[in-house]
Symmetry: D2
Amino acid sequence: MNTSLKVGVLGYGRIGKIHLDSVRKNENVDVVSVCDPQGEILPKELPGYSNYRDLIAQERPDAVVICTPTPTHVDIISYCAERGVHVFCEKPLDLDIGKIQKIQSEVEQSGITVMIGFNRRFDPDFALLKKNIDEGVIGAIHQVTFFSRDPALPSLDFIETSGGLFMDMTIHDFDMSRFITGSEVKEVYAKGQIRVTPELSEFNDIDTATVVLTMENETTCTIQNSRDAGFGYDMRIEVFGSKGMIMAQNNHKNHLKIYSHENVQSANPRYFFLQRFRKAYQFEIDEFIQCILNNEQPSVGIHDALKATQIAQLANQSLNEGRIVKI
Amino acid sequence: MNTSLKVGVLGYGRIGKIHLDSVRKNENVDVVSVCDPQGEILPKELPGYSNYRDLIAQERPDAVVICTPTPTHVDIISYCAERGVHVFCEKPLDLDIGKIQKIQSEVEQSGITVMIGFNRRFDPDFALLKKNIDEGVIGAIHQVTFFSRDPALPSLDFIETSGGLFMDMTIHDFDMSRFITGSEVKEVYAKGQIRVTPELSEFNDIDTATVVLTMENETTCTIQNSRDAGFGYDMRIEVFGSKGMIMAQNNHKNHLKIYSHENVQSANPRYFFLQRFRKAYQFEIDEFIQCILNNEQPSVGIHDALKATQIAQLANQSLNEGRIVKI
Amino acid sequence: MNTSLKVGVLGYGRIGKIHLDSVRKNENVDVVSVCDPQGEILPKELPGYSNYRDLIAQERPDAVVICTPTPTHVDIISYCAERGVHVFCEKPLDLDIGKIQKIQSEVEQSGITVMIGFNRRFDPDFALLKKNIDEGVIGAIHQVTFFSRDPALPSLDFIETSGGLFMDMTIHDFDMSRFITGSEVKEVYAKGQIRVTPELSEFNDIDTATVVLTMENETTCTIQNSRDAGFGYDMRIEVFGSKGMIMAQNNHKNHLKIYSHENVQSANPRYFFLQRFRKAYQFEIDEFIQCILNNEQPSVGIHDALKATQIAQLANQSLNEGRIVKI
Amino acid sequence: MNTSLKVGVLGYGRIGKIHLDSVRKNENVDVVSVCDPQGEILPKELPGYSNYRDLIAQERPDAVVICTPTPTHVDIISYCAERGVHVFCEKPLDLDIGKIQKIQSEVEQSGITVMIGFNRRFDPDFALLKKNIDEGVIGAIHQVTFFSRDPALPSLDFIETSGGLFMDMTIHDFDMSRFITGSEVKEVYAKGQIRVTPELSEFNDIDTATVVLTMENETTCTIQNSRDAGFGYDMRIEVFGSKGMIMAQNNHKNHLKIYSHENVQSANPRYFFLQRFRKAYQFEIDEFIQCILNNEQPSVGIHDALKATQIAQLANQSLNEGRIVKI
């Protein structure tokens, strides 16, 4: 078995840097290359390209990690499928369900492995929470609550091309709802508001949302989103079941506690996903590499991207039409 | 000013005992009497009656505390209104909105003081949470989440006459939604399931529910209910706002922490409302007595009972018709 | 069996008020009287005296609760012993070991019941901690740490007559060391400093202390004291054993948690002993009354006062002579 | 300035592996070599030696990290000092104070940089606690309590050559006492027991200890040690001062909380130092490299090793002679 892979990282923005780091730390990866249109920002010690086609042609990687802008994802995957290059692709795969279905069928025919970067499934707390549930620790699941709030609004430029709150941000919670409950959505109720940034109305977007998903197994998943928590990354899950309740609490910046004359103080949650999910990013890349080596299917693939995107679309429909959407 | 009142407690069941105790502890109450159809269970040292009319005729109380079954509430209040006897009445005031409106107008004409027992407003934690919000500690309110789960299902006999989960149990959360946000409901989405007790289908009732209220000020209030938490009384509120978040956490049975070789253990939440809300019951009676002495309006009256009952009715409608109900 | 006792409360200062309240709440106490040299401050509705001899002569109580200044304790107990009146006496019983031994023998001859107010043994958390230890939850005890810090310095007038930090304040921790470990002290190491109030040097007193007791069973009990914690009553116990660790954590003023942009805030510990130990004061009086009714020995008597006072004396010796004191 | 150093890691046991990893992660280290008498266990991709003299001769490193057995430390440092090779040395530097003083003077003459691996100073929580203290958050320091308990006893073979509990384990707390208080020890009181492993008596060693250090600035530092906590690594610091209290709490294995019908459960502390102090090990190596590059003195050097070893010796004296030892 080949245990030393060649991997190319495509795109060297915020998330590209994270994935490059994870790829380099994986002990089964031998040769790492990287590409970005702004070739001059790439780390000097690695083979660097400004075009992914060149990287693939020259480096002949076993796999690539796609961290380029969303609209490019499907084309790159298609290009890789033709050449037998395995793909790890950041979420969202695409905003268009038709295109996702089309690439799904291309990929199936090609036989390449495609894994989607739903990083939260790989967070050690969330993964252990899921494991406890699967082992029956809290019995049958009745209600799940996701608190999923970003520390601060991204730039309006980003917002404009993001696909909107449900497609860009809540999509993680949609995926986690399926992951935690092991069931599919049958009904969506979505409420959203602009509570922080009036300019969002220009993009027909929102910054605050409450969504209730009813799953086929009757469990309700309630999602609380905000683009602007202010105090850090509010990232918690509570699962209530027939035998008890299990919570994944916030990860805080440190473990100090200060008793002052006024109150008792402790640290805010870790600031954002880069801090909170560092390990998750490593673990998902590790699984990806392992799947390629062992010729196994990754735990999260195009099918899951399709499902999450469909739920996001239904949530947009519920919000815009002011009604419950059933599937 | 008369600072020593005569008070009669009507009904000596579980909640009647609590209120009798609170009345006796109030330092402005001089003479206490009590009535219950089962006269033999009453405490010997107090004037006891088996009929509230006799109590009122003999004791000539300034006020009564009504802890009798729900269907009797309105008639007793009407009887008191005619005789100028002030009333503290347990929730629910009545299950029928028409009857609530009728007694509301009778009471207004009579000039008596009527206070309704929405005890949660008087819980020290919840009251302080509200005070912090009013002082602007977390800025404008965006999202409220109520976790409100009972430790164990009541008897099916009780369920049968309770008016159903929304009318009997969630009604507290409906009232708290108005209290915390200072706003009125404009939209109701209610989901409910039977997850614990199949027999509930006979009564067209549920044991598990998720409700989203959208308030006129755009805040969403999400309510998570269960009749059977198993681990105690899960009674928490989280309020997220523009400047931060404030939570009222569970009150636990003790403050011990045990590090065992397997895990770290602490105590479950206090078992139920009698343990958790003991102080709240005292404080609401104290406010009632104070209002009578000072000729002031209590903070929670028939108007609030009417509103909460209307929301419960809309929630039932949303659940039964499978649609969002707007007001 | 006589189940309705007559009880007199002697002394109506801060602690006298607490005990009077507890006595009135005990359901086996029928008639309550109270005395204080300042007769005019006494509650009007109770038989009041300015002299304890008058109270005893007129009311013929079954028992008295002594809350007068420390120097009067022994004489009053002696007076009660002659007349067969049972005694609950606040700590410290006396500062002089000889006098304690003398009254101990008088009491033994008289047959009256004497209970000493080491209230901490009756705190629900501490009592449950002890119960867990006795049930073997943490195995054999190796190390106990007491954090026992007052929120603010008492008046210098009080300090002057208090007997000093070890006799007035640490005496509780000395008693708790015996209670928790079930063993007697064999070695004392005491360090003390003036860190807050230079004026204490006039009284040869200290405001900060660290004491290590080695018990006969080899367990060490470490005590951290301060007269001036500033943030409230720091009142915690940690017990480390062969199978784990058990902690009684601080009781805080409320259960709110506030996420602000700077940090996460929660409430300070309850301010002082009146708030923290309210239930303990009730439970010790309840045990006292029960012991009288059942003719049983209370769990904490003159013997325990003697032991705690001896340890305090040894601690003073260790501090003053700068050496380890062995028994 | 030379910004790419050559570093050799000497010794490839448990701690050697940690330091090798940290050295490789430091971005200013270019070439890494490693040696161990058992040459066959070394990672294949690095230049490996079975003798440190060969490594130094062949690789000509700028610096070495010494992770060999304690008795070899001084000789290796001496060898490095003669050749101008900078040294990071694991604790304890040596068990013999005379040898430490001798190597200290050799090092001073040679001009090499020597840093000692008191890793706890570099733990992010502890470092931030120190920073808060230095910024005056809790005012003047009055009392420090260290809870420092290992999860399980090491092998008796290790114990035999360890120098005993105070020299091997408490030495960290002795160093931290100086670090936290910024003051020197003036008095030592040490108690120790065999509570877990009777075999320790053969080595004149103990497994459980309570030590009180009185510092020149009057602060007391109390240390609670055990070789066998059972539930994980109990590693906490509490500092009480004139304006408040600051605690560094345990780091737990995860952030889950489970409400079962019996109790509320959370995870044990991280198992041991490798898990708890991973970041600290990185940060100390990073400081070491930075000091070499910038020609600066590290924050912890031979002087600190000397001080901590002296305190350990005094603690042994206090324990063995049963008396307070003053300096």
